[in-house]
């Protein structure tokens, strides 16, 4: 394995691992806050139990997210010193602001988790709100950096060197709005659907369990609207990519030749050697319609770009299909949920819908991984689009295969442990003695000493 490929793999694994926890860190605090707000209003002990269980899960996931995020901040230099030396002064500003947002998140999460009986209930809820807001804001700052890598702005390029930089302009990359919107919605949709799916599965076993019913309702309150809005944000994204990163769009659609009335390709396996696609279904003029909102529009194919500037087309195309497919499924199920609620039917008494929700549980997270694959692999061979090649940014250190092996092993083990912890600590239905505790008057009026 070449060192460049090892470095890219290590970065990919680190990002793929971290993004799961980062997304939960954005989505879960909102669920906790909704449950706690309900508890303050209704004093229903089930809401308090939900807020506490969810905060337990968040504590585990946030800790792993915090340390794996630290790995990434170092890896920017450990693996890509050339990139950081060039881009640091331009994109450091959002990173610094992200540092403060992350600080706020960590501080108020500590207060939230361990402050149940130390601060007044209102202050406690407010701490939860701070966690939810700063989590979302820190996500937005990080995505702003990625938007700059995709559509860089705020500098002049003179003989390959970046000069006359403007870090404020760099924040306003043309990709900034669509990427931050798409990612923030994705975080809420993925978390909401994952939690809803888990409780839907448990409701199939115990349909009358009020605990799971309440959990499902709150999770869908967050997940369903986000999943429904995501296709609109996806449309904005696709048009933006068509305009500013045409090579990526061509790879996403496996469009080898520039065409008017370009068709939309469903499925299919692109062959980069013969420049053809096997087994795909074409929808006439579909791509032109989606990318330019005009059925006759000309869409640039990969033939417009030198062969060495192509990303790996099959990876990008398949990842894109996966993201769109799963996102569409989630949006349809969200519509179904809203339709059911609008007719005043109980979701919990609708086994088919519960099954659909259970199937969708991992969809949001898979779609996020696929989406980041599209963004990152689709930008190759560039690390900063049109400015710096990934191969020119990699560290001169040899033997990167070993660090790759080490971090892969670490993350696989951590992943297994986290899944086991979440299952045994949070997801399992409350046992008889738990129910007793939840409904005992003492627990209802005075929260237990700690959320642990």
């Amino acid at each position: 394995m070449s060192d460049l490929f090892a470095a890219r793999s290590q970065m990919a694994i680190s990002l793929a691992f971290h993004i799961l926890f980062a997304v939960v860190g954005i989505g879960m605090p909102l669920l906790m806050v909704v449950a706690e707000r309900r508890w303050l209003a209704t004093k229903d002990p089930i809401d308090l139990e939900l807020a506490k269980r969810w905060s337990k899960g968040t504590a585990i996931l946030f800790a792993v997210g915090a340390v794996s995020g630290t790995v990434l901040s170092f890896e920017l230099g450990l693996l890509w010193p050339g990139f950081m030396e060039l881009a640091g002064p331009l994109i450091g500003l959002p990173f610094s602001l992200e540092g403060f947002a992350f600080f706020t998140e960590a501080i108020f999460l500590g207060i939230y988790l361990y402050g149940w009986d130390r601060i007044p209930p209102r202050a406690h809820l407010l701490a939860g709100v701070m966690v939810a807001v700063s989590g979302a804001v820190s996500g937005i700052f990080v995505v702003l950096v990625n938007a700059w890598m995709n559509a860089p702005t705020g500098f002049e390029l003179v003989n390959g060197a970046i000069t006359n930089i403007d870090p404020i302009k760099a924040l306003q990359s043309p990709a900034a709005f669509q990427q931050t919107l798409h990612m923030t919605l994705a975080a809420y949709a993925a978390t909401g659907f994952a939690v809803a799916g888990i409780h839907a599965l448990l409701l199939l076993r115990e349909p009358m369990n009020t605990f799971h019913r309440r959990a499902l309702a709150i999770a869908l309150l967050v997940g369903a609207p986000a999943a429904l809005l995501q296709p609109i944000s996806g449309d904005i994204s696709a048009r933006n990519v068509a305009r500013y990163q045409p090579a990526k769009l061509a790879a996403m659609e496996a469009l080898f030749e520039t065409r008017r009335s370009a068709p939309l390709l469903l499925g299919g396996w692109p062959d980069m050697e013969t420049r053809t696609v096997r087994y795909g279904i074409e929808i006439p003029a579909g791509l032109s319609l989606l990318a330019a909102h005009d059925p006759d529009a000309e869409i640039a194919g990969l033939d417009q770009f030198p062969r060495e500037d192509w990303p790996h087309v099959p990876t990008v195309h398949v990842a894109f299909q996966v993201m769109v497919g799963l996102g569409t499924a989630m949006a349809l199920v969200a519509l179904w949920v809203i339709w059911t609620v609008a007719r005043r039917r109980q979701i919990a008494e609708h086994p088919l819908l519960l099954k659909a929700l259970a199937v969708c549980a991992p969809f949001g997270f898979i779609a996020i991984e696929a989406g980041w694959t599209v963004t990152e692999v689709g930008r190759q061979p560039w690390v900063v689009h049109g400015v710096l090649r990934t191969a020119d940014a990699v560290t001169p250190m040899p033997g990167l295969t070993y660090t790759l092996a080490g971090f892969t092993l670490l993350y696989v083990l951590l992943g297994i442990v986290v899944v086991w912890m979440l299952y045994s600590q949070i997801i399992k239905s409350p046992r008889d003695q738990d129910w007793h505790r939840i409904y005992s008057p003492a627990a209802a009026t005075r929260p237990a000493t700690e959320a642990r």
């Binding site: 585990i60 946030f62 800790a63 792993v64 915090a66 340390v67 794996s68 995020g69 630290t70 790995v71 901040s73 170092f74 920017l76 230099g77 450990l78 010193p81 050339g82 950081m84 030396e85 060039l86 640091g88 002064p89 450091g92 500003l93 990173f95 610094s96 602001l97 540092g99 403060f100 992350f102 600080f103 706020t104 960590a106 501080i107 108020f108 999460l109 500590g110 207060i111 988790l113 361990y114 402050g115 130390r118 701070m130 930089i165 403007d166 870090p167 404020i168 560290t395 001169p396 250190m397 033997g399 660090t403 080490g406 971090f407 670490l410 951590l414 442990v417 912890m421 600590q425 642990r452």
Partner: protein, 333 residues
């Protein structure tokens, strides 16, 4: 000496961040060390005191390191790139330690009480807490010794192992570990409500204080033999000498406080000692960020970046400082 500029200001913020990291996160690592060395009849009490002291704050304390890294790559990009190339191996190991320490701590908190699972995670947490500070110290030692340079292309050993593998950096590693353990033991004397437990940590603090003294002396001795750059900075830099005096005074006060069981004094004095050590080192190598060749001025990012980051730091502080104050008021009165 030229007047202080924006680069110096931002460099000051980096050192400030590092100071906070050592004072706060350093003590969290030290707590893990005392978890590993928990002994005697109150062994489990010691462990639970440590866990309670660390739990609400360790993640916030950890963020200081991220702030330091971000400021480095934003404001001094060539320095960051040299550091991450030459110190790739120890920094990767530090990361491994950080990940294992943090995750094992949280896994232990949520594992079933008194299970083998819980004990095993406790072990991982404690061992990672012991190893990580040593590696961190080794990396800092390599910077101070002027070993962080562009790779020469002479081979893996010369470029990627030799810069940080020396008796001097090893002794800085040991010194860092002793310092973190010292801080933790001193803070824990204030945290404990029972006098027996307080006494346990007082003894540990005195022992760790002795270790700080021995490793500091060893580091100085090795600097004199191996690293003239550090030796000169520590002994002959006019800027650093007053700071060293403060450090020495604080060290004596810390011992006196511990000896006479004045724990509030004993908490402030070691903190002052740490501030003195970090700033003494920083001032000794000023104006170099990576001695002996790269100065702050040469490594600094364009003026506009430094200006915006300074503004960002100001705005961030307005959010951060009251939040931190609230966190510590709730948990660390």
């Amino acid at each position: 000496m030229p007047p202080l500029g924006l680069a110096d200001l931002v460099a000051g913020a980096v050192v400030l961040g590092l100071t906070a990291y050592v004072l706060l996160a350093g003590a969290d690592f030290g707590g893990g060390v005392w978890d590993l060395f928990a002994s005697g009849p109150r062994r489990e009490h010691q462990r639970s005191l440590i866990a309670h002291a660390i739990a609400p704050v360790w993640e916030a304390n950890h963020v200081w390191l991220i702030l330091v890294i971000v400021l480095l790559f934003t404001c001094f990009p060539p320095a960051f790139s040299r550091l991450t190339i030459a110190l790739h191996v120890p920094l990767s190991l530090v990361l491994l330690g950080i990940v294992l320490r943090g995750s094992a701590f949280i896994f232990r908190s949520y594992a079933p009480e008194y299970s083998t699972e819980q004990r095993s995670w406790g072990r991982v947490f404690a061992i990672a807490s012991l190893v990580t500070p040593v590696l961190l110290g080794v990396a800092l030692g390599a910077i101070a010794a002027g070993q962080v340079n562009r790779p020469s292309g002479r081979g893996f050993v010369e470029d990627y192992l030799a810069p940080w593998a020396s008796p001097f950096t090893a002794s800085v590693g040991a010194f860092t570990l002793a310092l973190f353990a010292f801080l933790a033991a001193v803070y824990l004397t204030v945290e404990s409500r029972e006098s027996d437990l307080q006494e346990d940590f007082r003894k540990r603090a005195l022992a760790a204080g002795g270790a700080v003294f021995v490793t500091a002396f060893l580091t100085l001795l090795l600097a004199w033999r191996e690293s003239p750059l550090v030796w000169h900075g520590l002994t002959a830099s006019a800027r650093a000498i007053p700071v060293h005096l403060v450090t020495g005074t604080a060290a004596i006060l810390a011992f006196w406080g511990l000896w006479s069981r004045r724990y509030r004094v004993a908490r402030v004095a070691p903190a002052a000692q740490v501030v003195g050590i970090v700033w003494g080192w920083a001032l000794a190598q000023y104006p170099y960020i990576l001695p002996p060749t790269l100065t702050l001025q040469d490594a600094a990012a364009p003026h506009i970046t430094l200006k915006l980051v300074s503004i960002g730091l100001g705005v961030g502080a307005v959010v951060l400082l009251p939040s931190l104050w609230y966190l510590f008021r709730v948990f660390k009165r």
